[in-house]
């Protein structure tokens, strides 16, 4: 194997690998809505919305959380659009899940117009403000595994 031959092989391998990475990156950018959908997108999906397992993002409407044993109902709001969510799952929602918090509901959209979630995740804001003195802040109780079970 002479020297120029090695060079060509290395060049071909480099082009293949860099090309694959670029392809994955570009298709990834196009599919940028894949991690979650907004309420508006969910309601604009038509029949597809009922057949897919989805993540929906929104803000928890203040006062809408109703707990009932392992069952919970709440309303997500996003830019004036409203989505009723019914949650039945094993894990309690994280402590950061409360009024006005950003949340993700994971599950299926029912034909009854209610989103049936099997998992709730909170999403954090990118702004950190100090707690007001005397105000109730979230405690770190969810760190203990006993509570998660």
């Amino acid at each position: 194997m002479n020297k120029s031959n090695v060079g060509i092989r290395v060049a071909i391998a480099t082009i293949l690998i860099v090309g694959t990475i670029l392809y994955l990156a570009i298709t990834g950018v196009r599919a940028n809505k894949s991690y979650y959908v907004t309420i508006q997108e969910l309601q604009g999906m038509g029949n597809h919305a009922y057949t897919r397992h989805l993540r929906v993002a929104g803000n928890v409407k203040p006062g809408s959380i109703e707990r009932n044993g392992g069952h919970m109902q709440f309303v997500l709001v996003e830019q004036g659009r409203v989505l009723h969510v019914s949650y039945v799952g094993d894990d309690p929602p994280p402590d950061t899940f409360k009024d006005n918090a950003q949340a993700l509901a994971i599950g299926m959209y029912g034909r009854d117009g209610i989103f049936h979630a099997t998992q709730i995740q909170a999403k954090c804001a990118s702004k950190y403000a100090p707690a007001k003195p005397g105000a109730q802040t979230t405690q770190t109780a969810s760190m203990s595994p006993a509570k998660a079970s």
Binding site: Y35, L104, A125, A129, T137
Partner: protein, 238 residues
């Protein structure tokens, strides 16, 4: 190495101690997340270092590839620096992943999710695990060259990690810094954050320097051993 320790260690430890005090006792408790948010002062600096030292690794690897034929002795120095930076990157990336998972469990309710930020960062971690495995377990004279090529891919992944929360919708919060309106930290949190970034940077530089010096010593010991072996063969031929 002794001087590096005597000078570097007190500096790094002093900044980290003040940073710890600021982060745990002085910085205000965050409004929505509470005490858990203090992990921010460790998670973000570690993640910054895990995105910074790959470029030391990359620059040293590129230098190695360029001069390995024309100046083999200097190329060995570049390779030692590349190895040192790679090991320190892996340490910081591991801390970033671990603190991120703890924080995620408390703040999001989950340990892990396959969003773009977490996945691309895990990829960076895996790239450096494979980099070090490659260096450890391959035989033959090509090890350093192959490792240097692998570091190029890590260098490609770093900007993807950084931009992931800007390009895609993620579980991970969008940028806290340079993120536009309605982002950022309270001015009272700035000292704790800045001190921890500075402290972990100093710590990282200290580790890289010590590891580099150790690797240079090993290289010289190897060279001496090879030279002695060659000389003894020559004498036996004579």
């Amino acid at each position: 190495m002794k001087r590096t320790l005597q000078v570097g260690l007190p500096i790094a430890l002093a900044i980290l101690a003040v940073g710890f005090y600021q982060a745990i006792f002085v910085a205000p408790t965050e409004a929505t997340m509470g005490e858990v948010q203090r992990i921010f002062y460790y998670h973000v600096p570690s993640a910054i270092m895990a995105l910074l030292f790959p470029y030391v690794n990359f620059a040293a690897s590129a230098a190695y590839l360029l001069i390995r034929r024309s100046n083999p002795l200097r190329a060995q120095a570049a390779d030692a620096l590349a190895l040192a930076a790679a090991e320190v990157t892996l340490v910081f990336a591991s801390i970033g992943l671990a603190t991120g998972m703890l924080w995620g469990r408390a703040a999001w309710g989950i340990w892990w999710t396959w969003d773009a930020r977490l996945t691309s960062f895990l990829m960076l971690w895996l790239l450096y695990v494979s980099y070090l495995l490659l260096r450890r377990f391959t035989a033959g004279g090509q090890t350093q060259t192959l490792a240097a090529v692998l570091s190029v891919f890590a260098a490609i992944d770093v900007p993807i990690v950084y931009m992931s929360i800007r390009w895609w919708r993620t579980q991970h919060p969008s940028p806290v810094f340079f993120g536009g309106p309605d982002t950022g930290i309270d001015p009272h949190m700035v000292p704790a954050f800045v001190l921890n970034v500075a402290g972990w940077f100093a710590w990282g530089v200290l580790l890289v320097t010590l590891r580099y010096q150790l690797q240079r010593k090993r290289q010289r010991a190897d060279q001496d051993a090879t030279l002695r072996a060659l000389e003894s063969t020559l004498q036996s031929v004579r």
